[in-house]
Amino acid sequence: MTDQAATEPTQVEPDPVLVRVREEFGEQVLDSAVEHDQPTFVVDRADLLRLAAFLRDDPELRFIRMSDLCGADFLDVEQQLNRRARFEVVYHLHSFDLKRWVRLRVPLDEDDAVVPSLTGLWPAANWFEREAYDLFGIRFAGHPDLTRILMPDDWEGRPLRKDYQPPREPHEWSFNPEEWQQAVQRGS
């Protein structure tokens, strides 16, 4: 991963995806690189929606499928791994035409881990964003139903954070059939 302009190992032509995005976004792309045939763009969250929509709708690119969305926690290793903030949300988009993936990374500070939701562009992002919220605590503004998805609803803590301490005592389970029935009525 480099901080400067894209690495072009032995190719004569620069990567077309890289060129197209730089044409359109220029300075707004904080970092860019191509490794293992996957262009990576680091953007600020303010530019995320525009860049994602561009990648999806541009007729030369057509990254119409969202492959993956996940969070990452770089507590204490930001310098070592060349990251700009503690958290990152990483998106992988796929283009059937180009048969390639592109990676978007949005750095987020610890006390302000909010990023716009991409559910408007791809409904597929829905559960992926809920998982990142559940396991990292990253909030997705505009998500239709941002609730825990994998851990129990009353769980405390964000398990995939590097400083997560699992509870010392076993979780006190209580099963109240009335509560279950009420939750069913609420539709949750």
Partner: protein
């Protein structure tokens, strides 16, 4: 005398016709399905029908890892089963948490419900599960069904 003899016959009958509940959680469930399929055929041992409803089954084979979210459900299902009932913890995850010693997995289903037979393996071979069922049958025949004690 006749009461004791009748109880013994009843226990023998119960042991030879254990009806498991379909409670497959994870990978062990696939081996449980293989045990019920044609090559290993657990129906030979009386477990002819895997009942879906806990109210109609007397054996709960906990096959797979029990997560934090699932634990209260396991307890609720166990409570819904009528007496006499037995539990086989199939596999390492159900017995002791298995290879997952972390925040998400209950370290053994015996933290939630009482277990009669533990079958080790990850997943246990169908023969191992059948061995566990036969051990349970011997246990029922030896100890009786202890109605009302649980």
């Amino acid at each position: 005398m006749p009461a004791v003899m009748f109880a013994k016959i009843a226990d023998w009958g119960r042991s030879q016709s254990l009806w498991p509940m379909t409670f497959g959680l994870a990978c062990c469930a696939i081996e449980m399905m293989a045990t019920g399929a044609s090559r290993y055929d657990v129906a030979r041992f009386g477990a002819e029908l895997f009942r879906s409803s806990p109210r109609q089954s007397d054996l709960m084979i906990v096959s797979g890892r029990v997560s934090q979210k699932m634990a209260p459900v396991v307890r609720h299902l166990y409570d819904q089963m009528p007496h006499p009932k037995w539990v086989i913890a199939m596999g390492d995850c159900a017995s002791c948490g298995g290879i997952f010693n972390n925040y998400a997995i209950v370290q053994g289903v015996d933290k939630v419900i009482p277990v009669d037979v533990y079958v080790p393996g990850c997943p246990p071979r169908p023969e191992a599960l059948i061995d566990g069922i036969i051990k349970l049958q011997k246990k029922i025949a030896a100890e009786g069904s202890k109605e009302g004690e649980r």
